[in-house]
Symmetry: C2
Subunit: 370 residues, 2 copies
Amino acid sequence: MPGMSLELTTPTAPLAEAAARVARLLPARSLQPGMATVHLRGGAAGLALSATDGETSVRVLVPATVHVDGEAVVSRHGLADTLAGLDAPEARLAVEGSRLAVRTPGARFALPSLAAARPELPEPPPLAGAIPGAALAAAGAVCGAASRDGALPIFTGVRIVSRDGRLTLVATDRYRMAAAAVPWTPEPGGGDVAALVPAASLAEICRQAARAETLLVYAGGDRFGLSWAGCTVVTASLAGPFPDRQLDQLLAVDPQCTVEADADVLTAAVQRASPYAGPHGRVTVRPGDGALQVCGRDPLHGESEEAVKASVRGDHVTAHYQARYLVDALRPFAGETVRMRIQAGMRATAFSAAGGDLTYLVVPMRAEDA
Amino acid sequence: MPGMSLELTTPTAPLAEAAARVARLLPARSLQPGMATVHLRGGAAGLALSATDGETSVRVLVPATVHVDGEAVVSRHGLADTLAGLDAPEARLAVEGSRLAVRTPGARFALPSLAAARPELPEPPPLAGAIPGAALAAAGAVCGAASRDGALPIFTGVRIVSRDGRLTLVATDRYRMAAAAVPWTPEPGGGDVAALVPAASLAEICRQAARAETLLVYAGGDRFGLSWAGCTVVTASLAGPFPDRQLDQLLAVDPQCTVEADADVLTAAVQRASPYAGPHGRVTVRPGDGALQVCGRDPLHGESEEAVKASVRGDHVTAHYQARYLVDALRPFAGETVRMRIQAGMRATAFSAAGGDLTYLVVPMRAEDA
């Protein structure tokens, strides 16, 4: 393995966390040997871990005392699993022959070096602006509305667009849709953002970045990137035209009935109705005077009905929903008063909270399926 | 539904817990309609829930204010799921037409009455003696050594025998075996106990009874029962002769090497070696002077070796084990010093702790599988 060398000492916890972050951001254990690897490079700046699955690439910087500059490539799950189990406060990493050895007092773990498999990591696209971490974490609820079905790839993505001083995030699987906006500080001279980012990657980024004060946003060509706290993630934009205009129109809600209720109380009522939701998983919501009735009906399991205290304005229109979509739509509003705007006919119901930047739409079900 | 009536008020939490206990003790959602039911009977003594899956029967008493004596039969998972979600402190149960209604303020859940399916619950066999709950909970570790493979039914059971003032529990899947004993107070005039109890049922009983001071033991014919805290469980003994004598002989251990180590430290080392355990999941244990080397070797994932502080007596014999069997064998000794007695050749290694009543045997693996 010519040219491979590396020797460094590092606190175990941040290195284990960095390896776990890389593995979680690139979860698929790739079938292509050499793809599910992580590249380590040690130098004056510390240790950089980088990895890619071909679409998404990740780079994390870790503090380390590097004794011998150099690099190594190993299995990223092997490295993450090995480091996750260590309880020694410090670890020493060294290339030893065809192995990257991870040493703690009394223990040595030797990961095969995979020199041939060094991933090509692209540079991030140009810096476009900055967003606050807490706002992105809250907006991450959007990712849950994306499709998990790869047959329609554009619906597995979250559409991210900069406009009017905000960065908007939109996702839909065509039965429900979520839209959020976060404050956007454009980079002077930076370009606009218009990307379609894989929802699974973005969801993991939102989880990891929740405690970051600020994230830098990179965009250009067909790539989108975020960086925070020593970590940079760049993804290829999904191909295909996203129906921006049609989705914008869906957000222009014309409610026939507006209901406000405690989101937690309503969620609990929907969950209690779920065992009675029947073969189609349907619960019925019936606005009344000062209350919302939540009902289930199943030919085998019986019936449920429960009144949830609510403020109701407009017509008392009955609506039916997939119980789990209703629970998903209410979850982002936990601890808040949720506003349900029920539209006429089969038009979607919108869920939002006062002062919030998130709107969740759920398409109702018909009263009886054929 | 002639003859069905029942009306009562009860604190929600103990009723929900009782319904959950019944459902967990009889987990299979039976394919026979009418079997996965629970029978409720309310009277002066409160409310009794009873249920059976044909092999195991359960009866739990719950405090209740019964307004109308009577009974009802409903789906036991329907009842458990409905009660689990309630947050009202009290619930009112009433037979209403063809439904058992569960009412809390503002809510009504109506479970279909299944009158035709009332289970026949056998009376428990005669009282044989008593055992302490904490000791049974500790002995419950034995259940994990039973087979999950129904092809050899006797090895899916735990053998329970009274002798010499103790109740012994033994289980094996032929690759490992565990034996424990709990203090036994025989009932004057009561008979001996010799039963083979389904391990999955006993494991759940041990979990539920952990905080009971005393359990009563019933045995007779081909049935075995336990009762504690208002709950009685009776199981049919599994058929087939259990190899008591052969297993007794296995417990006569003749160690070639005796190792003592901190069980938690050793478990952590085995877990760290597990990613390196190779296609056969094998880790190697190598006693040395004052230490036990724990090693893994995998053609793809690399090698590991770790020294665990240990006191070692006898020959320094190397042994190989299925990593997950080793972790299972060490788990009951968490927080203690575990003693490993390694025998010659392919004879099992015994795990025990000073002053403990549990012995866990693991058959070693060969150095290299063909």
